[in-house]
Symmetry: C2
């Protein structure tokens, strides 16, 4: 079971966008993180489709967070990039074969699907309990209060907010 | 993020193996569930590599659970089939680019990796809290106390324990 690598990139982008004073083009975010501009652009489009960022058009355009960092959870970002489907898919094999459970007895979800679903819910609840603002606070705790403003200044640099 | 489809098959096999009185060949388990014998054989081999089942050789051979159903958790089965790697892989992009965090400041895991790791732990804890015996009890609750013995009798049928 593996999450899309884009989840890591999208989360980093959300964190640094909290500190940018102006819209930031996807290419600038890719340059900051030294990652593939085209793959990062895909992640930003996924965040945009989910309504977590919006794209400001024009010469000084770029991405801005749509909501406050306190209102964006890790689950929002993970689901935007990786989709919201549960990791476990029940194919109802209990109904198959010579001793398959008759459909009329399958009024509840299969016990295996229930247990796997509960684990999925625990994972989602953990992600929903952490916001981008919490990550910002953790970065400040780890790297000091200057780290993110320094990144913000770099993102804003140059004519029209960037070089 | 998706788990291998083999997880569902392996869990069903563990549940029905609790009710079999004799070793059960992989092909018999595939026939019970009406699924691909070759793909099911792969899942049984994965369970065997993880030590959850062992293979009895010979004419009346087949698979038996190695441990009591109370001692096999869903996490054991999921990890046997799908691997134990965490869903989120941190590639340390915080260290990259013009403002990358210097290695000496990266004494703790990246905050993003910590939060994603906590969610992974929550998922694993949920799976570790449920055993095959719990699933057996749920099946009995849903389908009555005769459902699994009926399957056990079918698995044991025929000469040498099967037809």
């Amino acid at each position: 079971m593996k999450l899309s690598g884009g989840v890591e990139w999208a989360l980093h982008c959300c964190v640094v966008l909290t500190t940018a004073g102006v819209p930031v083009p996807s290419a600038r975010l890719a340059a900051l993180h030294d990652v593939s501009p085209s793959y990062l652009a895909k992640q930003m489009q996924a965040l945009s489709r989910a309504g977590l960022v919006h794209s400001v058009q024009g010469k000084t355009g770029g991405y801005v967070l749509t909501e406050r960092a306190e209102d964006i959870t890790l689950l929002d970002v993970v689901q935007a990039v990786d989709g919201a489907s549960p990791a476990f898919v029940c194919t109802e094999i209990r109904r198959r074969g010579p001793l398959g459970t008759p459909p009329e007895q399958c009024t509840r979800q299969c016990p295996i699907a229930r247990a796997m679903g509960a684990a999925d819910e625990a994972w989602r609840a953990s992600l929903a309990a952490v916001t981008i603002a919490d990550l910002v606070a953790s970065v400040e705790g780890d790297s000091g209060p200057e780290a993110l403003p320094r990144i913000g200044a770099w993102l804003n640099e140059g004519p029209g907010g960037r070089p």
